[in-house]
């Protein structure tokens, strides 16, 4: 017993020594993942995609411009308190300190927005988190490209209008929102309320409490109210339960649209054939038929360093993690270019994000041609393009595929809301908006 405790103490004491030996400058990238708890089915593929892409860069190119990436995973279990602990433990780790924080939870993002802004670490909440952080004048440290929840909500309204035969046909229709009863799920409500006012449809908000395993009452209400369309802002177990419940009341799946966090293989597979035709938002392609995926298989999985199962490469959320890693590494590359050094820190990476410009040609170079939309970030616009497409599930082929073009959001709805919400944040926290040139 005594010798064991001695070994542990020795191991702890030896830690700083070991990490001090590494000579080359390493880029620390924390990965807040959740491989446990009710959100694990969605958290695992994302974390695998994120880690595999970065490991692939290490194995293939020796990191970014020769600087190795040190991936620092920390388990949050999608829990805000653990997220804060993870942030505190990773923010100053390694040579560089955390370069970018990806909280992968809207709750944790809200928690970290003020903290990271003080600690000068950029937060990349890719397509989640606080929507009004799109206003780079007030949130210089927060990036939420390629599109926000509000943009997405308006795109759904636009799609519904198109399907109904014109935006004027929305009048008198009924659209329900089934949402995770948390900061995350509540994000689109205000946008949808404004849209309801503008287009004259009836809006119905139905909360589902954490973790979302029990939704009988919600779907009973949907059966009673008979909305023409149902939107869903769900995550984790809640998604699959909702899709199963929708199937059990025989709700038409092609009138049921999930947010892009509610559209992965894990969400639809449990419902089997009944999930056929279910729609969800998307900003990148599913599938593993891109050169980057081949490189991951070749450089990472063939060496036995893969984080997940080989046959799950290319799942929707795997690719989501991959695209997050891609944009992050590109931002770091940009930061190195701007500052002329490989030894970048969080402050410089923020500049890299703000000058980020990943167009189709660059995507091709990265081995991801046509994988996602071109993204260009500016000082005032941290949302980037804001465009969203819809993908549909084919239960027979067990495949997601993008079925629409990328829609422009209704900026006349989201614009004023973003301006109002960010101005309120600035007022509450006495922030003076910066001036962008």
């Amino acid at each position: 017993m005594r010798s064991l405790s001695r070994t542990i103490v020795a191991a702890i004491l030896a830690l700083p020594l070991l990490s001090g030996v590494a000579s080359a400058y390493e880029l620390t990238l924390p990965s807040f993942d959740y491989r446990t708890g009710p959100y694990a089915p969605n958290g695992i593929p994302f974390a695998n995609g994120y880690g595999d892409y970065l490991n692939m860069l290490n194995e293939r190119d020796g990191g970014i411009n020769g600087a190795k990436i040190k991936l620092t995973p920390c388990e949050t279990a999608y829990n805000t308190k653990r997220g804060v602990e993870c942030y505190e433990s990773t923010k100053a780790s390694g040579d560089s300190g955390a370069l970018v924080i990806q909280p992968l939870s809207t709750g944790i993002t809200y928690q970290l927005i003020p903290k990271a802004s003080v600690d000068k670490i950029p937060v990349f909440s890719m397509g989640y988190g606080r929507t009004s952080a799109a206003n780079g004048k007030i949130f210089p440290w927060i990036f939420n490209f390629p599109a926000t929840y509000w943009s997405q909500a308006t795109v759904f309204v636009k799609y519904i209008g198109e399907q109904e035969g014109g935006m004027d046909k929305l009048k008198g229709k009924k659209i329900a929102l089934v949402y995770h009863n948390s900061a995350y799920g509540k994000e689109p409500i205000r946008t949808l309320e404004s849209a309801a006012k503008k287009f004259g449809f009836e809006f119905l908000a139905l909360p589902v409490d954490h973790p979302g395993q029990e939704q009988k009452a919600t779907w009973l209400q949907i059966r009673k109210e008979r909305p023409d369309w149902v939107l869903m802002w769900g995550w984790g177990v809640m998604n699959q339960v909702a899709i199963k419940e929708a199937a059990s009341i025989r709700y038409p799946m092609d009138h049921f649209i999930g947010v892009w966090w509610s559209g992965s293989e894990n969400d639809v597979l449990p419902a089997g054939e009944a999930a056929d035709g279910y729609l969800s938002g998307a900003f990148h392609q599913p599938g593993d038929n891109f050169p980057a995926h081949d490189d991951i298989k070749k450089y990472v999985y063939d060496k036995g360093k893969g984080l997940g199962d080989r046959d799950r490469i290319g799942e929707v959320l795997y690719n989501r993690g991959l695209v997050a890693a891609m944009w992050t590494s590109e931002a770091i590359r940009k930061a190195m270019e701007i500052h002329g050094t490989n030894e970048v820190r969080g402050v410089q990476v923020r500049d890299g994000f703000e000058a980020l410009d990943v167009d189709e040609a660059r995507l091709k170079e990265l081995g991801l041609p046509g994988f996602t939309i071109p993204v260009k970030i500016t000082c005032e616009n941290h949302e980037g393009p804001g465009k969203v497409a819809l993908q549909q599930w084919d239960a027979k082929a067990k495949k997601w595929s993008i079925v629409t073009d990328f829609y422009e959001p209704l900026r006349d709805i989201t614009g004023p809301l973003i301006a109002e919400d960010s101005a309120q944040y600035a007022k509450e926290n006495s922030i003076v908006p910066r001036i962008c040139n």
Partner: protein, 358 residues
Amino acid sequence: MFYRETGQFKASYQDDQALFPIDQDRYVIFAVLFITFAVVPMLLNQYWLNAILLPFLIYSLAALGLNILTGYCGQLSLGTGGFMAVGAFSVYKLMVAFPELGFIPLVIISGFITAAVGTLFGLPSLRIKGFYLAVATLAAQFFLIWLFNKVGWFFNYNATGMITSPPMTLFGVIITGPEASPVAKYYLVAGFVAVFALLAKNIARGRIGRNWMAIRDMDIAAELIGVRPLVAKLSAFAVSSFYIGMAGALYFAVWLGSAEPTEAFDINQSFLVLFMIIIGGLGSVLGSFLGAAFLVVMPIMLKNILVDGFGTNTALAAHIEIITVGILIIGFLIVEPHGLARLWRIAKEKLRLWPFPY
């Protein structure tokens, strides 16, 4: 030999009734206070203060509150999360509306607001006992969280239902909001905990505390010797909620900085604090601290040892952590059902005789 009161003569009633009648105890308390306030902030880094000590101290305060109700007065409560939310939302509304009052008075006022709410939910305790009371307080938990999530007034009608603590200062030092330094936050919370822990110890050994314990041990007998159950039970609910409300206020305003009711104050909080006092020791101030340390600090330490020390992958480490904490809880309850504080008491008995146990 070292822990012996022989030769310490009490010459007055005052000496005899001191908070810590044995000299050694007093020295230990002074030493602990000295370490807490003078040594710890010098030695420990930001991570320790922010991620480990702040939650430990805040949960200790909450556990202290619940211990007053459950440990001293014997009324089982599962509403701790809800009462913490009352404290948090009161301090939020007050910080936004009356920032000029200063942070410490605002925390104390939110403690009083929580005390009022707690007393209200304590009314059923006059009729029902034990498990049935636990269910009634469980209703309080769900009702309060629902209320804070539903009614926009509580979170100032913002879009997401999240509350964020605005920056406030104390003697010119920022103590809430993101700019606050960990050391300032630590001093603030440690100050609160130290003052109110001593106060709790004081209340518990006095008339009020004895009334509570009489009710706990046998309520009919207590009534026969003249303890009024109405006053005793409701005062326990009030004092307990006061502590829990302050803990909730500090938890939100100082430690987390922003919170949403459904996650930060859910039923798991209630269970967590209840487990703390069961493991730490019912009816013991020291037990509240030991329980909080056991359930807040140990999992984090375990994670750090596994992940950073042995390079275990994070998912496995999380599972090992859950398993280990579970096993330790069961183990402790089998070996010492009266909690960690009882172990300390036994150690004290032994220390009195050591090293000459004859």
